[in-house]
Chain length 333, copies 2
Amino acid sequence: MVNIKDIAKQAGMSPSTVSRVINGKKHVNSVKRKQILKLIEETGYVPNKAARSMVLRRSFTVGIVIPDTFNMFQRQLFSIIERHLDSFGYHTLFFFVTFDDQSEDACLNRLKAEKVDGVIMLHEIKNPAFYDYITAAALPIVTATFRYPGFSAIHVNEEQASKDAVMHLINLGHSRILMISGDGFTFGRQRAEGFFQALTEASISWEENRVVFVPHYTAEFGMYGMRELFLREQRNFTALFAATDELAIGAIRVLNDEGIRVPQDVSVVGFDDIEIAEYMYPRLTTISQPLSDMGEKTALTLHRQITGGKGGGKEQILPYKLIIRESTRALAR
Amino acid sequence: MVNIKDIAKQAGMSPSTVSRVINGKKHVNSVKRKQILKLIEETGYVPNKAARSMVLRRSFTVGIVIPDTFNMFQRQLFSIIERHLDSFGYHTLFFFVTFDDQSEDACLNRLKAEKVDGVIMLHEIKNPAFYDYITAAALPIVTATFRYPGFSAIHVNEEQASKDAVMHLINLGHSRILMISGDGFTFGRQRAEGFFQALTEASISWEENRVVFVPHYTAEFGMYGMRELFLREQRNFTALFAATDELAIGAIRVLNDEGIRVPQDVSVVGFDDIEIAEYMYPRLTTISQPLSDMGEKTALTLHRQITGGKGGGKEQILPYKLIIRESTRALAR
DNA sequence: ATGAAAGCGCTAACAT
DNA sequence: ATGTTAGCGCTTTCAT
């Protein structure tokens, strides 16, 4: 493999000069510069990243912490973030994390070893040691889709959004509304909270029993949650709020299998507005988070922290939108 | 940040000894070993990866080349691969590549700079320089879901699988069958080829006009493709074969919007068996690729190449399965 | 404008 | 069993 010395030797110059050319520094004869550039082109030379990052003590890499079982919303979000990061000249390292402690520890260790320039979290880690390290190392960080005290955060008002979703159902005349949410992430609780608030505000009585918390936000557990609701004898309902679109998709599957039609018999609203939501039958009514805006702001905020030195700790709350499609309709009287 | 010298100093030993402990080498007093281990634990020391990879001339990292717009099948596949790679002690670096040449060049450059120990390709790169470099550098590589001459490959027989899918339709009594496929990847052509073969073998006449090739394998382009078929006056059909499940989902959406029922009016079969396929309404009949097996074999094959030195170039063709669900049914007479 | 030299953190060959 | 030393490929003073 060709290295900087090889180039220098072939050009009859010193590695320093070559280095200057590579890094676009001033103080190098333009003829020599061209000559070196040509040589680099010919040999296909690319600087060794490890060596570079060792002396510079940074890696031009940012780590994205993401759940191992990322859903489609997160998938879209990290693609956007990755693209923006790329435009700022960073590479992206993914840290897939599961719910177990071991995985979180491994993530922390890797974070230390990799010397990333910054971190973006799309996944809530439980272990406080993680946050302590970040704080102690003064590592630039931004959390997206959730917040952590003291860190920059980009997210929507989950509670308010959920409340709006449920309000939509209520305005349609529904009052016997069920919910499927999940545990493991803050947003599951927040979305359930919004559900309760909407009901309360509309003076509709409710019991805790009307919401199930399932372990994962997947279609599979959407089915599971819906069945669980049936087992709880919750048969007398006309609407369902699912904490994610995937959950909604699974629930609708069970409803269909039971001969319950959506939206004729029950209205369903999801959350996230994942890509397939508008291809489903029926097209899913859902809450749309501002994906591109969120991704862009996340990348930008981190970049500013890395370059500007500070500017951390601020929270940016983005607007969401209720997308009314075909899975909800007015209660037939 | 604490480094190996700090640990050595605190322990009153040399960096070599610490290094030996870190790397689990023999020839170190067990008391000292424990002492060092304790120190590492306390300080939270983690070896600097850049330094390590520089002297070792390898990175313990493998690169996964994947389309920027990866679909759900690819998403599941790379998750599995990542997990297996992890169990072999490798980290994973993702190279998201788009269709343009610039992106491919960037991928190649990064590959050179990162000193990855091996490469897994889930995406076909056009630029031959890419393959030339890999070959010249004798970089371990395995391609999954497609093949490239001379490289290890793990894939199913795309043509045969598609033929089976179409045969299923034919056996159900269908003969006026349409297809939506895509360009950009070899499998799009192969799947179309299987379609033609099945028709030919069953002595059903066909024209090229019955298959559309769309630019991307997404639900959005599934809609586009279906509409295009309608524009071509292809109204008189009873079945559709889509080259991916996403394409099928988009097509079904258009069909529904036109008042054409699936499967009562037209049967649809997809390809890939992505997660939501069985949550769709109707549940999608599709070809299932052996995801876990594929992922495992891909990781294992690469690992063997990296450690064993050779063993490259072999092709592993995995079995697929036709999953019959609700989107296909016998032609009503 | 250019080169020589030092050093980033680590491992491995060589001494002891 | 342990320490000393050299060197991986790069950037960056410091001279010139």
